[in-house]
Symmetry: none
Subunit: 220 residues, 2 copies
DNA sequence: AATTATTTTTAGATATATCTAAATTTATTT
DNA sequence: AAATAAATTTAGATATATCTAAAAATAATT
C-alpha cells in the first residue's frame, strides 16, 4: 500500500492517539494533533477508510485497522531510527532532531531502513528513550528505572527529570546531562548511594544518591 | 526562498540542461527531462519566473537566474552528499543510490547537510565521480573524456557514469568496473566503436561503443 | 512570401489537500 | 422530553500540480 505523506501523518497521529487511552479516536482530537481543522479530518478519514487502513463509522469516531497499524509502526520505526542517526552520528542535540526526522520518516526505500538499522547497530531505543519497532512492527517497551537503582556497567537513556527543581536542572546542565543523554554507571558507592557515571561517552562525574533518585532512565 | 519539491526538481532539470550546451532551455526539453508534458512545463516556468529563479520570455525559452542556480546547486550538493553516505556508510551499490538520493535531496534542514558533510569527511566527489558543490555552490570541474574517444594504449581513471541508468551500472559492476578503476584500451574496433579494455591491470573485457560513449575518464 | 510543421501556450478538467460556513447528528442540560 | 451545546459532516472554494485538446506563435520548407 502506497500512502501519501499526508496520509502517513494522519495514520501516525491516529496511532498515537489510540495508544494512550481509548481505542476510538475523535475527529476533533485528530484535528488538534495535526493542527488542522475538523472538516479536513472528516475528508481524510473517509479516504483512509476507503483504503481500509482505519475503521470508521460516521459520527462514531475512528479506529486504526491492523493494516493501518502496521503502516503507522513502520513510519514510527523510520522516524526513530533516523533520530538515532542524527544524534549518534551527526551530533544533533536531543531537542533538534524531531523536525528533521519528521521529514526523513517519509523517505521510501525498500533497503534504506534495513541498512540504516544495521549501520546503527540495531538500536532498540531512540534518543528520547522510546522503543524502536522492529521490521515486523513489534515493539518491546523499555523499562524505566531511577539511576539510583543501577549497578556498575548498567547504562540507559535519561528520559525524565523533575522539572520543578531549578537547582537540580542547573546542576545537570552544568555536568552536560540532559534528556536523551546516554548514561553509563562506572561505579556505585554503597555508603551514600552516590554513583560515578559516564555521560555520552565522554565526561565522568559523581552524582549524589539524592540526585540519582530523581533521574529516570530507560534501559533495554 | 522556500520552493516545493516539484519546483526544486524543475530548477535542477533546467540547471542540468543548461549545463551541457546552450544556456537557453526549451519547454520541450524540460518536459522530456522530467517525463511530463509541455503544457505542465509552461505552467511551472511561469510560476518559477514570477519567483525570479529563472528568466523567461514567452516562446523564447528559459534561462536559470543567479538565485535559481544557487538553489539548484544546493539541491545537487545534497543529492551527491547523500549518495556518498549511501555508498560509503550503508554499503549501497552505486547503481542503487539514485532513486533514494532523489528523495533525500529535498529534506530541508539548516544544519543537517553541513553535519552530514562533516561526518563524511568533506568529500569532493560523489560515487559517480561528479563533483560536489561546496556550501557556497562552487564546483571544481575535473577534465574528462569519454572512453569511446580513446585510442589503443590510452588509459585513464573512471570518474563518471550516468547515474540514471541502473542497467548500465549493473553491467559495469559485474565486469568489475567502478569509479576509480584504471582503464587501459587494448584495442579499438572501428566497425562499431567497441573497445577491448583492461580494467585495473587484470581482466580484459569488450565494451560496446554505446557504453563507451557513456563512461567518462580522467586522463593525464 | 506563403504554406506547412513544430513548438509553445492557453483553456478547461481532474486529483489532492486544505479551508470557511452551513447543515446535520450526537451529547448534555434544563 | 425539549432545548441547547458540542461535535461532526457536507457544500462549496482555493491552491498546487498535472493532463488533453485546441489555439497561437515560431521555425522550416517549398
Amino acid at each position: 500500500m502506497n500512502l501519501s505523506l499526508t496520509e502517513e501523518n494522519y495514520l501516525k497521529a491516529i496511532y498515537h492517539l489510540s495508544e494512550n487511552g481509548d481505542k476510538e479516536v475523535s475527529t476533533n482530537s485528530i484535528a488538534e494533533e495535526l493542527s488542522t481543522k475538523a472538516a479536513s479530518v472528516s475528508d481524510m478519514i473517509r479516504k483512509l477508510s476507503r483504503k481500509k487502513v482505519i475503521n470508521y463509522e460516521k459520527y462514531r469516531g475512528v479506529q486504526i485497522s491492523p493494516s493501518g497499524e502496521k503502516i503507522a509502526l513502520q513510519v514510527i520505526r523510520k522516524h526513530r531510527l533516523w533520530e538515532v542517526f542524527l544524534v549518534e552520528k551527526l551530533d544533533f542535540n536531543w531537542d533538534e532532531v524531531h523536525e528533521v526526522a519528521e521529514q526523513l520518516e517519509h523517505i521510501k526505500s525498500p533497503t534504506l531502513i534495513s541498512r540504516l538499522d544495521k549501520f546503527l547497530g540495531y538500536p532498540t531505543m531512540d534518543p528520547h528513550g522510546d522503543p524502536i519497532p522492529n521490521e515486523h512492527g513489534e515493539i518491546k517497551i523499555n523499562p524505566q528505572l531511577p539511576l539510583v537503582e543501577f549497578n556498575a556497567e548498567d547504562q540507559g537513556i535519561v528520559v525524565k527529570v523533575p522539572d520543578a527543581d531549578p537547582s537540580l536542572l542547573r546542576h545537570l546542565d552544568k555536568i552536560g546531562m540532559r534528556l536523551g543523554s546516554k548514561v553509563k554507571v562506572i561505579e556505585r558507592v554503597e555508603f551514600d548511594n552516590s554513583v560515578l557515571i559516564k555521560i555520552d561517552n565522554s565526561n565522568e562525574v559523581y552524582l549524589s544518591g539524592e540526585m540519582a533518585k530523581n533521574i529516570m532512565l530507560a534501559v533495554k
